[in-house]
Each structure stands twice: as C-alpha cells, then as structure tokens.
Symmetry: C2
Subunit: 150 residues, 2 copies
C-alpha cells in the first residue's frame, strides 16, 4: 500500500485547520493512546486546557487488526462536563465506537465529541471533526522520526 | 528571563540522545501532563511500548508556582513491573517528587525511574536521565507552534 509520510509540518498545518472546524466548548481532552497523545497535548496547549488525559486500548496488532477492541485504562473525568476525544486516525472506527460506548456508560451526564486528523469513509463511525480523508497508509512523524536507525 | 525557543528539530535530537542514556528495561511509560505527553508518545514509538499513560497534576499556575502539587489523575498500571516516568522539564522537582511518592505508595512492587528533556540543578529531585540543563526559560514547540495568532 502506498505510504504517505506525514511530517510535523503537515501535522501543524492540519491541527490549525482542525481547530477552525471544532465549534465546541470543552473542559477536558482525552487522547486515545498512543496515536492521539501528541494531538491531545497540542490541543491542550491551544485551548489552554490542563485536563489532558490518555485512554488506552488494545485491538490493533501493528498492521494486522484484531476483531475486537478492549479499553485497558480509562481516565477519571468526574468533573468534566464536555470532553473532546481525539485520535490520529479513525480507521475502521472500532476503537472510537468502543471508547465512546464505555465512556458514555461510565459518565452518562458528560457530553462527548470526537476529532481526528484522518478518517476513512468506510469507518463505522466518523468523528465530529476531521481534516483529511486517509486513502493511503499514513506513516506518522512520531513513528518515522523515532526509527532506531536514524 | 531569556527565552530558549525549543523547536521540534531540537526535541528530536535530544530524544535520540535521551534514549542513548536510558539503561533501563521498562514495560510502561507515564507522561506527566501536559508537558510530558509528546515525549511519552515518542518514547512509546521508539521502544514499541503500547502502555503509554498520562498522569495529571496541578501546581503550576502558568509562570507563577503554587506552593503545593496535587496529583489529580493516576493511571492504572497494575500489570507493569518497571515504569518510566517522563516530564519535559524538571524545574523545582516538586511535581516529580510528589508523583513518585504517590505512585510508590499505590504500587509498592513497581520499579519507577524518571527521565526528562531538561532539568535544573536546583531541583529537589533530579531525574535518572536528562539531556540538557535549563538555564533559560524554555518555550516548547508545542506551545509556540500552537499560538492562536500564527
């Protein structure tokens, strides 16, 4: 599959586009680890939100995908009313759908919205806001800039 | 105070130096939010560790520092034996000291080590591994690249 090397500069351009789209006031951000962590951090800086949490799932096994997604670690977001959940890419949508289901069960009073850099049209759930459709395999800068042989 | 604009390229150079120093096998990473999140993400990529968690504290009020540090959200790390805690900068050391105290109380069987990009000699606790001594005010790329007016 053709690879798209997604650089830090491309990320910066996209994240500025993403914040133009997000018409939602929120008081906490949850980044789905690992891919959503840098995005969550940068959005926290932009919105000056200190409640930037991580949520850990298992389900991907590198390129091969397992049929199910399990949420391993949920953040405590008891005092948050409106929460933005972020991911680098919404691929099948399995992860995001499971994360939303579990968060809504645990925090029925909280309003959750979702954002990602990339999405696939074929995903079973599309994020509320996204920047680019993914029609290639996305190689992110946090992966290729950290290769051991560089 | 003089500012050091710490770019993404400088970060990449430093993180590759940091991993050269870290002589510790670990199975989970905790990034202290917000500043440690991007570092935690990149280290997770490098070591291919999926258990990348966030830990949230309060204590800094922008440049002014409050006298105490409170840990707001602790990750569940029940199955981790060896954990690397990361921060962007160890300044007074108050945050890192409090985080270590609380984690060791909750997980007495777990081995914790600490790493940061920057440290201050005057900190009450120095990380096990760090790259640069901070003798200026560090302005990180995740802050200045996300300024609303850029």
């Amino acid at each position: 599959m053709e690879k798209y090397f997604y650089t830090y500069d491309a990320f910066l351009k996209d994240i500025h586009q993403l914040v133009e789209k997000i018409d939602f006031q929120f008081d906490a951000i949850i980044g789905i680890a690992r891919g959503g962590l840098t995005l969550a951090h940068f959005l926290g800086e932009y919105y000056n939100i200190r409640k930037v949490y991580a949520l850990n799932t298992i389900g991907y096994n590198d390129i091969q995908k397992l049929p199910s997604v399990e949420v391993l670690s949920l953040p405590e977001i008891t005092n948050a009313k409106d929460v933005l959940i972020v991911e680098d890419i919404v691929d099948s949508g399995d992860t995001l759908a499971e994360v939303l289901k579990i968060l809504k069960e645990k925090y029925p009073e909280t309003n959750f919205k979702t954002a990602s850099l990339f999405y696939k049209k074929s995903a079973r759930i599309v994020p509320d806001w996204a920047v680019q459709e993914a029609d290639k395999w996305i190689e992110f800068f946090w992966t290729f800039d950290m290769k051991r042989d560089t």
